[in-house]
């Protein structure tokens, strides 16, 4: 708790600002950071799915594809992230120290470990067809890869929350739940698309069920995040303009409500032997991935906007 102001000055803030000038500075994070958050979220959750699925009979194909998806994400994601640095040639300074108080520092190390472990699982299994030792390495790496993947799915929310940007800092716990559920929904949807493409329809259907559950959980987390923003009086940037459109239209309608409804309709159509069941699941999975991306980019942009609003910054620092 912070100290009270002396009784000689007005005890209640009446909304005064200093010439309407911002109190804190907005981040320089742009779409490249959002793209990284989405890619590594999907890659991370894919490793969790691989770890859960490998115990099931007949899961070899799914596990293999999940590992390759994770490896691809952990290779492409960092490239877009480095593009965001203002002095790109010094990207390796990210691995100069370990700073336990900085989610960005921890995330850099986590990303390094996740990339290496994803390489071990995907390449190890591939080489394991000729050299059994490589296959054993891949199996041994799967557990740690899933743990690192769990971290990759959510640490970006922690990175945003550990700032003085009002909108990001106001709801640390529910925002991380929202990012985590979106990562899992994205990974399950991406793998469901792949499984349908290779004709493993029953496996795809289980993944779609997981995506629906993650989407439902995301709706709950989103409600809690938004209610905390509302109670703090700083919800406006998440409702207006481009960030508002991305969060409500993209994140909620396109990314959650529409795909959950489409999956339900598709299953109903399947049961009646209709043809809608052939395209609806694919469309729904695609919408879920895009909606997850829109949600993350919306949170990023809304946060940058909230940092420019002095009243929002003062509202969250009153006591």
């Amino acid at each position: 708790m912070s100290a009270r102001l002396p009784n000689t000055v007005p005890q209640d803030w009446q909304g005064e600002t200093y010439h309407g000038r911002p109190v804190v500075k907005a981040s320089s994070f742009d779409w490249k950071v959002s793209a990284y958050i989405v890619m590594l979220g999907i890659a991370g959750s894919a490793q969790v799915i691989a770890a859960v699925a490998r115990r099931q009979p007949g899961s070899a194909g799914l596990v293999r594809r999940a590992r390759w998806l994770a490896l691809a994400g952990s290779m492409v994601g960092p490239l877009t992230l480095v593009q965001h640095l203002k002095t790109r040639s010094r990207w390796f300074n990210m691995l100069r120290i370990v700073r336990p108080t900085s989610p960005m520092s921890l995330g850099s190390w986590l990303l390094t470990g996740f990339g290496a472990l994803s390489g071990a699982t995907a390449l190890g299994a591939w080489l394991g067809r000729r050299w059994p030792l490589a296959g054993r390495v891949a199996e041994a790496a799967q557990g740690p890869a899933a743990l690192a993947g769990a971290g990759m799915s959510i640490y970006t929310a922690s990175l945003l929350s550990s700032t003085s940007t009002p909108l990001w800092a106001a709801a640390p716990a529910p925002l991380a739940a929202q990012f985590g559920t979106a990562s899992m929904a994205g990974a399950a949807s991406a793998l469901a698309l792949v499984q349908r493409a290779v004709g493993e329809e029953r496996s795809a259907r289980r993944l779609e069920t997981l995506a629906m559950l993650a989407g439902a959980a995301e709706l709950l987390a989103k409600r809690e995040t938004e209610s905390r923003w509302r109670r703090a009086g700083i919800a406006a940037p998440a409702k207006e303009g481009a960030p508002g459109a991305l969060l409500q239209g993209g994140g909620t309608w396109l990314g959650l409500l529409a795909p959950i409804a489409a999956h339900a309709l598709g299953r109903a159509a399947d049961r009646r032997g209709g043809r809608a069941g052939e395209v609806l699941p694919e469309l729904a999975s695609l919408a879920m991935i895009l909606g997850g991306a829109a949600m993350r980019h919306g949170v990023l942009l809304a946060g940058n906007e909230s940092a420019c609003r002095p009243r929002d910054a003062f509202r969250v620092t009153q006591r």
Binding site: V9, E16, N93, S164, P172, A177
Partner: protein
């Protein structure tokens, strides 16, 4: 020998190279030696500020900072606007609307304050920095090492006071160094040395805090009951994880009027609830995936 107005310490060095400062010149100009291992900071007493902006000029001169706004803002005499990559001292001007007949003593109804990096303890920018470019010096100040910063920009939203900024010119983060180079040479920081009214005082933090408490008592006795400190332990500007600010202020109005948050928080304390909630979410979904039978044909 009678030295007239000269400080006795100056007379010890009459045969020195005039191009170079005398050793520990801060003893002459600020009344304290600058020694590694002690905490140094600024006490900015806004009741003494006359808004001359000598601090802004001295800072730009010493640190070779480019001009970044030569226009008029229309916001009283504040044409600087904000602290930023090239502006490490910024004098705020706020004209209050009470009539001149009701002015309290000390600084009229025109609030002026020379804003600066607070060199917080703990420092959120430093806690966020993933490269170690931001570090705590032997003088307990917080400085960006320009040869290490890679422009990730994470310190910028981390700062609760909107101080640090990335420069477009070189893609690195910049802010007040509390004249790290001058401190190493035993010199008082440029802004404090140039301040004609001693509104900006430089010195060891505990000594400044004592001096500031005494100043508040003095002002209360002299008829300015609104005087209070911002940024000393337990005062507004601290709490919620921030213990104290090495650069602290004496204010006479609510902090918002000076663009200061009344109760800033240490951002790093959000990391734990966020990580725990996120990991619990993934663990729950992994269980759900197992129950759904993900992987089974």
């Amino acid at each position: 020998m009678d030295g007239g107005l000269a400080h006795p310490r100056v007379l010890e060095h009459t045969d020195r190279d005039p191009q170079k400062p005398i050793p520990q010149e801060a003893e002459v100009t600020a009344g304290c030696r600058v020694e590694p291992g002690r905490s140094y900071g600024f006490f900015t007493d806004t009741t003494l500020c006359i808004g001359c902006k000598a601090c802004e000029v001295a800072c730009k001169e010493w640190n070779n900072l480019p001009a970044d706004n030569l226009g008029m803002t229309g916001q009283s005499y504040d044409n600087t606007g904000r602290l930023g990559a090239h502006t490490w001292r910024h004098v705020t001007f706020l004209e209050q609307d009470a009539r001149a007949t009701s002015m309290p003593p000390f600084q009229s109804n025109w609030l002026m304050m020379s804003d600066v990096c607070k060199h917080c303890d703990p420092a959120p920018c430093l806690e966020a920095c993933p490269t170690g470019a931001l570090f705590r010096t032997e003088f307990d100040t917080v400085v960006v090492q320009q040869d290490i910063c890679n422009g990730c920009g994470y310190c910028v939203p981390a700062c609760p006071f909107g101080v640090v900024e990335l420069a477009k010119e070189d893609g690195k983060a910049h802010k007040c160094t509390l004249c790290y180079d001058r401190l190493k040479g035993g010199l008082e920081p440029a802004c404090a040395k140039s301040c004609p009214t001693d509104s900006i005082q430089f010195g060891p933090v505990e000594e400044l805090q004592r001096r500031a408490e005494a100043r508040v008592t003095d002002l209360h006795e002299k008829g300015q009951p609104k005087a209070y400190l911002y940024g000393t332990p337990g005062a507004p500007g601290t709490g919620k994880g921030l213990h104290h600010l090495n650069a602290f202020f004496l204010l006479t109005e609510r902090p918002e009027l000076y663009n200061l948050p009344p109760a800033p928080a240490r951002p790093a304390r959000n990391a734990r609830p966020s990580l725990l909630s996120g990991l619990a979410t993934i663990a729950g979904l992994a269980v759900a995936a197992a129950l759904v039978g993900v992987g089974r044909r």
